[in-house]
Symmetry: D2
Subunit: 389 residues, 4 copies
Amino acid sequence: MSLSLDQIKETLRAQRIETPSWAYANSGTRFKVFPQPGVPRDPYEKIADAAVVHRLTGIAPTVSLHIPWDRVDDFTKLAEHAQEQGVTLGAVNSNVFQDEDYKLGSVTNPDPRVRRKATDHLLQCVDVMDATGSRDLKLWFSDGTNYPGQDDIRARQDRLATALREVYDRLGDNQRMLVEYKLFEPAFYTTDLPDWGTAYAHCLELGPKAQVVIDTGHHAPGTNIEFIVAFLLRQGKLGAFDFNSRFYADDDLMAGAADPFQLFRIMYEIVRGDALDPAYGINFMLDQCHNIEAKIPAIIRSVLNVQEATAKALLVDRDALGEAQRSGDVLAANAALMDAFNSDVRPLLAGLRAENGLDPDPIAAYRRSGYQEKIATERVGGEQAGWGA
Amino acid sequence: MSLSLDQIKETLRAQRIETPSWAYANSGTRFKVFPQPGVPRDPYEKIADAAVVHRLTGIAPTVSLHIPWDRVDDFTKLAEHAQEQGVTLGAVNSNVFQDEDYKLGSVTNPDPRVRRKATDHLLQCVDVMDATGSRDLKLWFSDGTNYPGQDDIRARQDRLATALREVYDRLGDNQRMLVEYKLFEPAFYTTDLPDWGTAYAHCLELGPKAQVVIDTGHHAPGTNIEFIVAFLLRQGKLGAFDFNSRFYADDDLMAGAADPFQLFRIMYEIVRGDALDPAYGINFMLDQCHNIEAKIPAIIRSVLNVQEATAKALLVDRDALGEAQRSGDVLAANAALMDAFNSDVRPLLAGLRAENGLDPDPIAAYRRSGYQEKIATERVGGEQAGWGA
Amino acid sequence: MSLSLDQIKETLRAQRIETPSWAYANSGTRFKVFPQPGVPRDPYEKIADAAVVHRLTGIAPTVSLHIPWDRVDDFTKLAEHAQEQGVTLGAVNSNVFQDEDYKLGSVTNPDPRVRRKATDHLLQCVDVMDATGSRDLKLWFSDGTNYPGQDDIRARQDRLATALREVYDRLGDNQRMLVEYKLFEPAFYTTDLPDWGTAYAHCLELGPKAQVVIDTGHHAPGTNIEFIVAFLLRQGKLGAFDFNSRFYADDDLMAGAADPFQLFRIMYEIVRGDALDPAYGINFMLDQCHNIEAKIPAIIRSVLNVQEATAKALLVDRDALGEAQRSGDVLAANAALMDAFNSDVRPLLAGLRAENGLDPDPIAAYRRSGYQEKIATERVGGEQAGWGA
Amino acid sequence: MSLSLDQIKETLRAQRIETPSWAYANSGTRFKVFPQPGVPRDPYEKIADAAVVHRLTGIAPTVSLHIPWDRVDDFTKLAEHAQEQGVTLGAVNSNVFQDEDYKLGSVTNPDPRVRRKATDHLLQCVDVMDATGSRDLKLWFSDGTNYPGQDDIRARQDRLATALREVYDRLGDNQRMLVEYKLFEPAFYTTDLPDWGTAYAHCLELGPKAQVVIDTGHHAPGTNIEFIVAFLLRQGKLGAFDFNSRFYADDDLMAGAADPFQLFRIMYEIVRGDALDPAYGINFMLDQCHNIEAKIPAIIRSVLNVQEATAKALLVDRDALGEAQRSGDVLAANAALMDAFNSDVRPLLAGLRAENGLDPDPIAAYRRSGYQEKIATERVGGEQAGWGA
């Protein structure tokens, strides 16, 4: 089962990571958003930035959209713009958390009018998918409560199930629903989709087009994420990742920055479950905020971190690992895994890039390209895109 | 929906809490077990102690057994002994974690011989249930790994599913399987049943006789347990509780001692879900360790804590609560819940006990009874029961 | 040591809680700020709202300011306005986190120009104190880093110490510096003042005018806050509280809402340490965000929660408690504490208010007062105050 | 400031790690201790095992003792035995947690008789140090409480201070006291030394011979340990490490196994603070439990993990790092650190070992040595050493 170098390279060549349009825009904490020079002012400029990341890394050919942040009059035109830039439009993310009406929830709001409005927005996102040709509708809800007693926990589940069903039934044949969960924030007492179990139970009841999405920053302290990966793969219900990293809560730092060993363990479960190939159907997305660091190189760095973790996972000598596991040799089994993690895969990946006609060092290439200076100069006037834009 | 005092009393009269045989025995941490005078030396003495708790509280008429800790030659005789004492035998708990063979797991062990042995033990527990007339088989597995790579996460799920299936198929018509989950300890890297989602998914595949058991100490920091209660009730998959309390990990302190407000919120979801009545089928068990405090009064205290939380939950003015929730009045809704929590239900419960011919103050009654002195004197010689006994 | 009812009432009459100007204004999460009708548009209106809280509760006679949010041309005039309303100006809070320059830190910024600017702001806050007659300068820094390597952890401590020293030396005879710590947010990897130990060490080096402030929401999961209270009291270094409550991170919910038992334990340590009396010098402040609930009644509710926790703490039979503790009776000692917590102190406090000429139910009195409707009508036009305003 | 390869090698040659006698013995969780063949039966055999680790790694020349577990009639003889084996006796660890008397605490016990007994034990440990020539007395207390109200938090601090003072005053000129802290376990509500701040405050009051020891497994979730390292170095109060690793609580796994990136960050702060050299005075100890893995190779693996993390820390290009930090280039600064972490230092260390006449692969050398088979055969009969032995 251990792979040859050629097999490893071939697998790495096929890897795909999707970058999010909003990560190119301004973002921040509740305390402050620090704007950066050259930040995109509209969806077209976001896609241009994403295309730069793809041109330099070679493995980021799709861009997630966020509706209404990325709403345009003509999505066909936006899709054509993407294609001209060398990328395509990816998952459509709904946003039912930035309207006054959603103060006490969107699809789980006690007020039926607000639930209708929120569900209608989700249905419109499917319309957008029809226009863009996107396969994936990613649903994250900020819905929850801040105080014990504020609302009925169970009734909110009923409302959630009703809305999900209506949207599910609207999906086309080649469309999927990705259901995201999150422990807390912005709701502080209950969240209506707080953990993978809740998302899984809803997806199971909805049907095969509903799949769970794992955001790596959305768990309680001490949660073993690679276990969830392995379990959902076994159940056939892992649809996507939102990669990022965190030290405390949903910090949305660059993937692999806070715990590179965890990212490696996650990617090992993907490799072990034969789920890396795009044909398997998992959408490997980034979902990050670059609050204080330069945005485009931060996204490049994140893509490279996922790629390096994947290369290490592919290096695992699975024959040796399996033998040690079967014989109960705890230290030898751990060593087999660590041997791969402790390897330096950067030369391998630099070589692979060169073979593919890319610069071996995408970060350096970006710095040399002059793109940052160009957008800082050109993107003056207009309103910078941000979390609310 | 708000209840009259008579309805509240009637409901409280019907409440049932099961106490665990092992809580009457010595227990401790990995650092030290502090033995206590008068501790039982065999299952018969454990049941005698449990009977004292029931006589004083009036709501703890059943006792959970732990096999092999409570193995006796003749379970019919043990059941008769219980009946003479005024209690009956409750859930049977399997123990597949204290044999040398289980060092790397029981039903998920990489060695098929060990898996066979562990599964056979579970089947024997069903034999015990046949003898004792117990309805519930409670399964907790210490299975997991300590180091990344130590074993294959997904293969262990396959092994777990196989063992559970075999035991499930052995269950009689009136028997159930209660599947327990736990975040960590004694396994430190992965646990094969780490969270409610995993237990739920297995129970769903097994069938209607498999239900999830919530141990209130088995969660990651920040987990909202009452959400899990509400969700599992909605799915019809909540089979039992293991009550205890904790500040950090699985501290196994007296129920309600660490966070009485959380216990109240849990019991409110039970009341709201009409799941308190024994006919609903939830087994409300304690699962605690009294390492430094006197054991019998600690169990009485725990039973009372659950009862007080229940009484408060029953006091909630659900009409006012529902109206505030529907109108989106966050503060009024919170206040409706808090009004019940802030009430002092001890006079109500003391009165209820008096009406039922019990001492209004079970702790004081125990102290006056001389039972503690009696067992300290009589139970000399022999080996005290403990976690390994 | 147990108190008579008269002593309890006298103590409760003397209790003082300070409310924060910014809690009357709009606030939110990074996802959304939901504006509310009637929110103040300037510091004068904030103080008017705070005065309402004091008139109804009788124990909230001071208001914390935040600079520059509450900057006015003439602080003497603001102080007079406060006095007319029946309140006085309290602690001055510095804000060195909402300027572009502070992206990588304020007083710990690697750039000396930014450090100078930040320190100058702190010095200006002391000028404000001179004008308002405030005793307390409360310092919270968002300073920290998001990524390993981003800056030198130890050098930042040197810079922090330098700035604190300069400001400390500027304090007048009757002025104090309150140093606040926080685990994380908005910095995600390191925070320069992450825990009480760091704040304590700096305060110790600065001198007697520097004291630690405990914000109850600023700790790692599982931190025992009452231990910190007891320890800092023993060291003579507890200067103030920022009360609020939380389930996960720094949720800034109403004090006592998430864990009323914890608030009681904290207030018990205050009572046990004879530190409740204003003469002791602790500033008991609220620091909260009312994102979805009505602001003024939420603050009233928080004041009442602290008051109720205090009343329960005063009810503890300390003679019985001490005796049980000394004799090693774990259950009796715990019961002595719980007996007070389980008491319903609301009738006592309602009576106390009536004796003092206040409405026994401040929340109901507020609802009846028409103030909410009045401000919703009158405060139209202008810009609502908020976290950035 | 960046080091040449020669400087790196020289530094690595001087590195010293102390291994703990108890890690060679049986250990386990509260659920089960799994005995292993060949485990030592007395302190002499433990030292023999430690000597093997030193012969293979070249950097573990000292062994920590635990009293009374390692009590012998003649410590001079034990010291000679160690010297014959090529190692010396290191820190003396007190044990005041495994006697019936310590159920409610040792030096903080409410009973003065127990406090006297515990303090006397600590003084006897200094006698042992006199006999063994040990410099360090390591103090860890399991003291704390399980239930709110159980004992007076502040009075326990007074008792703790009294005991520490008496022991401190007994120390010889070249002896030190290392004060360890721990969040929880075995106490579940309060711990009398729960965090570094408490240990630091006590050490500061005691004097220069009292230093803080950081056990890497003793923190709340989300605690930034390298911050504490940097801070204590700045204060001159970091005396020692107890290395191990953890996913959840105090798991006591092999150092570097759970989070190798964290270990690297810790060692980087040590390198940055010029504190690696033995002359600086930090005692770098392991404190681990090998519950399911073979003990001697697990300790070798841990020593190598610390060594590899150190080598990576030494590889950091501190010139580049400092420049990026000073210029506020977040990504470049992070990259400078990560560049070192992502390097594979195993060839460097293998070469270094070969230069020093050691086998390049200590684990393989141990497996080949036949030592494990030898002790499994020879150490039959007698009682295996364990946590209680």
